[in-house]
Symmetry: C2
Subunit: 428 residues, 2 copies
């Protein structure tokens, strides 16, 4: 963890480093991934079979390629009732929020018979990657699948590695809850390639979403354009802006809720009170020891944690915008004025009673958010990621007479005579 | 040009080939581009200087790095008044259409003190690539710059190669018309790298848009994630669905208006009348000879043109959806029923008096559209490409009490104790 102070000499340079040295897992996996994609494209299911044996340690012909709907339903039924209820609440609230994102079709008629507009339609099929191992989160299934469902996607396909053939029951339960149409026991770059190009068994999809390791992320990046992808995701981040009226224990827990995700996660506190900064730092150290995720949280906090002392919380906001954090908590009594200063953030949590973790699960807005300063230009996952807009134009003879001559003039100027002729023929 | 008939034996396989063998310029440029990006990232302006000397044949220190605003204004003033008027009409109509795309902020308050919502903000800076040479189109400047302006982008930067130092006056005039803030005499992959990473002279941007050759497209693909990009663009396409009541000369001109763009462009006619098909084929052959773009149009039509005979125009629509064309004309008296069958298309042109070329210039909707079957999952350029959504959440104590326990339960099930604690502390 580093401590910075906007009033200290060298602050600007130190903060630049914090902004620019945000490391992403950039192991040189791109060659490996390109080779895997090539194999799957050429050999289809045979490649999936071989890679699964090699990386996941089981034979798909023995374990079965698919997990059946009935198995997912069974996983949901055997779930602890408390947990099933929590998942159902999450599903319902996430669905309600995302339904409001559905865009409206538009049609604009002008007096002279010119009509323009746009229609939105869902993509035909979406593929959702669900990691195996540590990051196999049912909440992630909900957050990725529900926007696709709300968009009207007809075919929702889950791919997930099952190391040694063992599936994660929580993930299966979540798959049942969102009504996934297919669940395949394949993972890694090979699963992404199968979704993009299709194999005999797995039909191709139009959009691929969901978190994954460096191989999965690189495969999505390489296949961007062949299919739509949700985004390039990096390590998770939180920025907390807090005054001294907060309970340091609460703030410490909020910072640690990012640190425990991954050793590369980043947690940063901005505060205008040095005593509060010390109290939070102490509370973090105390709390870490009690976590079952202590090892990861400690590594992340030590390497990427920061506490920045500012003259005023307003002074923090331009710095926060430079970080463009995935998650931003404004833990003050009246967060509205600070919120108005936010230009770049994935999701904002307002007030003292809004810990970011509520947003991870049950609040409604999506928890798939831009990381690594990408909130400068990118948004969280939404219904729009699973829809596309078709614009349209309709001209009467009168309408064409009104605007056609300008099109002819421009086409001629650009040296495109067939463009000009296609309009001019209709004007004569 | 190939002729297909849905009733002929072998149609399915032949149409599959038409759908799947859509070639993109996939010269192996990715290594070259990676090297250029690396040089610009390491050496900044020195690399730009060297690449410009090598590829564009002029010395930036002699020709000047920037084209000044005054030079753009002068280009606009010296323009033929007719042409200036046409460009201005285009700008005003494109602006009016895109202003309606601006998304509304949302806020949803629930009874128990739970508030969710989203705010949209423009990105800080956008970079627009404008090709030199054949494809230096002022209409492209308008179509890319106006959505950025409407989105509220504060800094709009144009990069454009000026071979041997010569700038395209039409492009400069368009730059003046959209109020570009900076115009730089750099092009190719090196210009994209400069926009993404910044150099001493050129500050980095957040989103890069605009057409370009294979090097430019590959640079955008490689830098996707470092910045936002508009899309991966391929050769241009048109599908025309027409009955025999159309004038074959009009239909032929519409098909040629794509063919003349590039030898890789594709034009396809679907019709239910064999005689009309013959008449259009004849008209295309006759018209090509009269075009100044004959060489390109002939190459494109010969290699990628197609006429598909269908039993009925309704039968054509599932085939059109498989092609997911960039442009689709429905040239019939009542296009509405066919339009309702369209699932995947970039932009649709309805009726006999709506040639696609009007949409290229002055109608209002954007002419930057998904190609190469990407309309299955992608949309045309819009104001949304230059904005991003920040979701938000605000909880009262009561609201947290209502949904917090479910979050605790899910966090525990996912093995994330600090997540659970950050909520639980506030519940006690």
């Amino acid at each position: 963890m580093i401590r910075l102070d906007t009033a200290a000499p060298g602050f600007a340079a130190a903060f630049d480093t914090l902004v620019n040295d945000r490391r992403e897992a950039d192991a040189d996996v791109s060659r490996d991934v390109a080779a895997i994609i090539g194999s799957v494209r050429r050999e289809g299911d045979a490649a999936l079979h071989a890679f699964t044996k090699k990386f996941d340690g089981h034979d798909l012909n023995d374990s079965g390629w698919r997990i059946e709907r009935a198995d997912c339903e069974a996983a949901l039924e055997t779930l602890d009732p408390d947990l099933r209820e929590a998942l159902t609440l999450a599903r319902d609230r996430i669905t309600a929020y995302h339904e409001k994102q559905r865009p409206a079709d538009a049609e604009y008629a002008e007096d002279n018979g010119i009509v323009t507009g746009a229609r939105w339609r869902g993509v035909d099929a979406a593929g959702l990657y669900v990691p195996g191992g540590r990051a196999a989160y049912p909440s992630s299934v909900l957050m990725n699948a529900i926007p696709a469902r709300v968009a009207g996607v007809e075919r929702l396909v889950i791919v997930t590695p099952t190391p040694r053939g063992e599936a994660n029951l929580l993930v299966l339960a979540a798959a049942a809850l969102v009504g996934a149409d297919e669940v395949w026991r394949v993972g890694g770059a090979q699963a992404i390639a199968a979704l993009a190009y299709g194999t005999d068994r797995i039909k191709p999809v139009d959009v691929i979403c969901g978190p994954g390791n460096a191989w999965v992320a690189e495969a999505k990046r390489q296949l961007y354009g062949v299919v739509g992808i949700d985004m390039v995701a990096g390590p998770s981040e939180i920025v907390v802006v807090a005054d001294r009226a907060n309970d340091p224990e609460w703030t410490a827990a909020d910072l640690l809720s990012q640190s425990e995700h991954d050793p590369t996660s980043q947690s940063i506190l901005f505060t205008d009170d040095a005593g509060f900064a010390d109290a939070v730092a102490d509370a973090v150290d105390r709390q870490i020891g009690t976590l079952s995720t202590a090892k990861v949280a400690r590594a992340a906090w030590d390497a990427n944690g920061a506490i920045v002392l500012v003259r005023s919380l307003e002074e923090a906001m331009p710095l926060v915008n430079r970080l463009a954090p995935e998650h931003l908590e404004l833990a003050v009594a009246d967060p509205a004025p600070l919120f108005d200063l936010v230009r770049h953030a994935g999701s904002v949590f307002l007030g003292r009673h809004t810990p970011e973790a509520v947003g991870d699960y049950v609040a409604g807005p999506n928890h798939v958010l831009p990381t690594g300063r990408r909130a400068r230009f990118a948004s969280g996952l939404s219904v729009l990621d699973f829809m596309k807009r078709t614009s349209f134009l309709s001209l009467s003879q009168e309408g064409l007479a009104a605007i056609g001559p300008a099109a002819v003039r421009l086409a001629e100027a650009e040296g495109l005579p067939a463009h000009a002729r296609s309009v001019a023929l209709r004007l004569s």
